[in-house]
């Protein structure tokens, strides 16, 4: 007798594996991306060279981009499926309801996830696709080149973040991402079954502090630009 489900990822536990696995992959990306971004503090040369390195290695760039797209699609797909099932699991709502013990982050994973998704779309249009209409600076980011004829990422970012509303949206977006991660980075260990009483509290703390570090790492750039520490 084979007791395994016909499709692992149709089961509730299986879908949570998917959420956790794809979430973990994206956490790694978020950390790598942050490390890349922080080169802004090393000046135009460093960041522009880094950007040129990435963009000139098409064989590397596109597989990574497509993988990320696939991962995020799976993450969204399982989130949608899970949400649908969760909604169906309680067809009539309570007249009165008090969340017990559940952290704000854990209760708002869906909303924070959706807003982060919208933010990512904007972020890609802003700095990757470089749609002029969405940068509110009136500058065509395509036209920015540095003395070595590389794309001048440094100036693009500085110009981009000098728009206070853009920076604000960025800070809010990253903030929500980190709220999402503060729960997600420990919950993924739970979903994968890699948590227990001994390491559980440590993981929870690590996730919260990790989220704070990521938040600070990302928002340090727009804030430094707004404060003219980077120009």
């Amino acid at each position: 007798m084979n007791h395994a489900p016909r499709n692992l990822f149709c089961s509730s536990v299986g879908k949570k594996y998917l959420m956790a696995g794809t979430g973990a992959a994206m956490v790694l990306f978020v950390i790598g991306h942050m490390a890349g971004n922080l080169q802004m503090f090393l000046g135009p040369e460093a960041i522009n060279r880094y950007g040129h390195f990435l963009q000139s290695n098409v064989e590397l760039l596109w597989p990574v981009r497509l993988s990320l797209l696939a991962i995020i699609s799976v993450h969204i797909w399982s989130a949608a499926k899970l949400t649908q099932e969760n909604r169906a699991a309680r067809p009539s709502a309570y007249e009165q309801w008090q969340p017990t013990a559940a952290s704000y982050a854990s209760r708002t994973m869906l909303m924070s996830g959706i807003i982060v998704g919208i933010f990512i779309v904007y972020h890609l249009l802003h700095y990757t696709v470089m749609v002029k209409a969405v940068n509110f600076a009136g500058t065509d980011f395509h036209s920015l080149t540095d003395p070595e004829h590389r794309h001048d990422i440094y100036r693009m970012v500085v110009i981009g973040f000098q728009q206070p509303l853009v920076s604000l949206f960025y800070i809010v977006g990253v903030g929500l991402l980190c709220l999402h991660l503060s729960h997600g980075m420990s919950a993924m260990f739970q979903s994968l079954g890699w948590k227990n009483r001994a390491c559980g509290p440590c993981l929870d703390r690590a996730a919260r502090w990790g989220a704070v570090v990521i938040f600070l790492g990302y928002v340090s750039i727009p804030i430094s630009i707004l404060l003219r520490l980077i120009q």
């Binding site: 007798m1 084979n2 007791h3 395994a4 489900p5 692992l8 089961s11 509730s12 536990v13 299986g14 879908k15 949570k16 594996y17 899970l82 099932e85 969760n86 169906a88 699991a89 309680r90 067809p91 009539s92 709502a93 309570y94 007249e95 009165q96 309801w97 008090q98 969340p99 017990t100 013990a101 559940a102 952290s103 854990s106 209760r107 994973m109 729960h183 420990s186 919950a187 260990f189 739970q190 979903s191 994968l192 079954g193 890699w194 948590k195 227990n196 009483r197 559980g200």
Partner: protein, 257 residues
């Protein structure tokens, strides 16, 4: 003390329900919550009304029968306590108390505050046991079980199957209940022989019953009258993964064996 109660009244599974308001006068601090409802019911019957239907049996916090949301919290919010052990000294004169049944697709309302938790039984029927017949078992001390393992099994086995975990979960997930049984039996050598089959079958029936999924919010653990740990959910997730990896047995039994 005098209290205002807003109680969910629903004639049967098919009818629409609504909150009705009742006054509970002269409630004493030493009454249990259910005794307070008994008094309200006695008055309702005397006046020719229909008493509020609610489940209760042992009234000492162990049978798992009593089940109600009090002010939006399963079992009323006193840590490690079922409704029957919640006493009125935790309320104040003039309070308004909202009382609702467990709400989940898998727990349909039968009447008022009474729900059908048969889904829990069906999950256990799918695999929450050790397949031994009566008789022919080895001496109880033949197989030593370390105290740590035995204690962990007991921690999980303490679940009384009341369903508060489902009621409190924003997703109406039964993961805490299912994982408690999976972990209890997987922690003991007697239960290990069929650990893979058990977790796969129990999770399958859990999913089929229409429970939601775990978002690891921890609400279940917080309202659990036996304080079953969220840890067991992680253990079940681990068991499930191992079972998937190991489940390479024959696809069909050959018969004649």
């Amino acid at each position: 003390m005098n209290l205002t109660l807003k109680v969910w009244r629903q004639k049967d599974a098919r009818s629409q329900g609504r909150l009705e308001t009742y006054q509970a006068a002269n409630v004493l601090a030493d009454m249990s919550f259910l005794e307070m409802l008994d008094v309200v019911n006695e008055e309702l019957i005397a006046k020719g009304g229909e008493p509020i239907a609610f489940d209760s049996d042992c009234r000492e916090g162990i049978c798992g029968t009593c089940s109600m949301m009090i002010n939006g919290i399963a079992h009323g919010g006193l840590r490690g306590t079922t409704v029957c052990q919640l006493h009125m000294r935790h309320f104040h004169d003039g309070d308004t108390i909202v009382i609702e049944p467990w709400r989940a697709r898998a727990f349909p309302v039968i009447k008022d505050l009474v729900t059908d938790r048969g889904a829990f039984d069906r999950i256990i029927q799918a695999g929450g046991f050790v397949s031994v017949n009566t008789g022919g078992t080895p001496d109880a001390n033949a197989l030593p079980v370390g105290k740590t393992e035995a204690d962990r099994a007991m921690d999980a086995a303490a679940c009384i199957g009341c369903g508060a975990c489902v009621a409190a979960c924003k997703n109406a997930s039964a993961m805490l209940f299912v994982s408690a049984k999976v972990s209890h039996l997987a922690s003991l050598p007697q239960g290990r022989a069929e650990r893979e089959r058990r977790v796969l079958n129990m999770v399958r029936v859990m999913d089929e019953s229409g429970f939601g999924n775990c978002t690891v919010t921890g609400s279940c653990e917080a309202v659990c009258p036996k304080e079953i740990s969220l840890d067991f959910i992680a253990q079940m997730n681990r068991e499930y993964g191992q079972a998937i990896l190991k489940n390479s047995g024959p696809r069909q039994s050959k018969g004649g064996d």
